[in-house]
């Protein structure tokens, strides 16, 4: 009798811990080997056969196709440089330069990967569309209301993520953080709707 209840207890604990931690890992996007540059996180290995099992499971579940490593690298930001989650009701300024790449795109998505509706039909910027200042830096204002310059509308949604993708770039698995990869800074302002 002791044996039976003991086994039962073990199995309940195993199922709870095992499935619970799997669910947690998938919903919280736990992945290893991130290349962290400021607020931006990239997973260059996701575009290769050495993608880690957690990233594979996340991709299988959400239906995404990762950018292949011979094509480009994707960086994601869900928070600003100070770690505050990006809020679509406030003005957020993305400013700086980017690592060398033939082209890059910056796109705004809902956390589940959908585009956001707005009156301008603007989903993001390509490197060709950005207006830059004299030293070659660009400034994008991510805001629910129209702003002069490079305005990326949020549609007023609570939370969003920014994806910066570099195409035909030397950036990749061998990249170490720091000087070889200058990423734009993300600053939240206190201007909110």
């Amino acid at each position: 009798m002791h044996l039976l209840t003991g086994l039962l207890l073990s199995f309940i604990v195993a199922a709870g811990i095992g499935l619970g931690s799997t669910w947690y890992a998938l919903t919280q996007n736990i992945s290893f080997g991130a290349l962290e540059l400021g607020a931006w996180k990239g997973y260059p290995r996701n575009g290769t056969v050495s993608i880690d099992p957690y990233a594979r499971a996340v991709i299988a579940r959400n239906g995404e196709l990762p950018v292949g490593s011979g094509d480009g690298v994707t960086f994601t930001a869900a928070a600003d440089d100070d770690g505050r989650p990006l809020d679509g009701r406030c003005d957020v300024v993305v400013r700086g330069t980017t690592p060398p790449a033939r082209y890059f795109t910056l796109t705004l998505y809902t956390p589940s990967g959908q585009l956001v509706a707005n009156s301008l039909d603007r989903r993001g910027f390509t490197s060709q569309e950005l207006v830059r200042d004299a030293p070659g830096e660009f400034e994008i204002t991510v805001s629910p209301r129209a702003r002069p310059g490079n305005w990326l509308p949020t549609g007023g949604i609570d939370s969003y993520i920014l994806m910066l993708r570099f195409y035909d770039t030397s950036l990749g698995i061998a990249t170490r953080a720091g000087r070889e990869a200058p990423m734009p800074a993300i600053r939240s302002t206190r201007i909110c709707q």
Binding site: F11, A15, G18, R56, P66, G68, T107, V116, Q128, M163
Partner: protein
């Protein structure tokens, strides 16, 4: 008391095994992965242009709206597949995925050069079976080995600004992936 703690400790260890097993198995059991989502609209050994993502619907999540995208579901069971993707004005890339969405090879227009990206996709076995004659080993013929019999080929053509998207899509309409014979 000790006995119960041991049962719980055993349960925790077994829980770790359950966790790893489910993570490893998930890619093979997922019914809504990219391959499954594309299957209804993408033919076998033929390219189809994917609908551009909009806020209302997007066939895959996190699609880059600055690209026109065409996909082909390849099947190497009957032999190698020949791939031709015309290069668009700005930037074109081709990425190969296994049936379980692992990107195992990607090439862009700079690496391929000329007016189109052309290569042969085959399994390791099919490559070994190739006759060792001149034409096959010619340097300009690029061969990619697929780790799986089926999978996805995704061609992406960049449009630097939204108005050029139709041009990028037009280039991809001529993309081909078909059995060699």
């Amino acid at each position: 008391m000790i006995r119960w703690l041991l049962w719980i400790a055993g349960g925790l260890m077994l829980g770790g095994v359950v966790h790893l097993a489910t993570i490893m198995m998930l890619p093979r059991t997922a019914s809504r992965d990219a391959y499954a989502r594309l299957a209804p609209v993408v033919p076998v050994n033929g390219f189809a242009l994917l609908p551009a993502p909009t806020p209302e619907s997007s066939i895959l999540p996190f699609m880059d709206p600055a690209f026109a995208v065409a996909a082909c579901r390849y099947d190497l069971a009957k032999g190698p597949v020949k791939l031709t993707v015309p290069v668009s004005q700005a930037y074109t890339s081709v990425t190969f995925y296994t049936r379980y969405d692992v990107a195992y090879y990607a090439i862009n227009d700079r690496a391929a050069g000329r007016r189109s990206i052309e290569l042969d996709l085959m399994t390791t076995k099919q490559r070994e079976d190739l006759p060792d004659d001149e034409e096959v080993t010619a340097a300009d013929r690029l061969i990619v080995e697929s780790p799986s019999l089926t999978g996805l080929i995704v061609a992406r053509a960049f449009s630097p600004e939204p108005s050029l998207l139709p041009t990028a899509a037009t280039a991809l309409r001529a993309a081909q992936c078909k059995p060699q014979r």
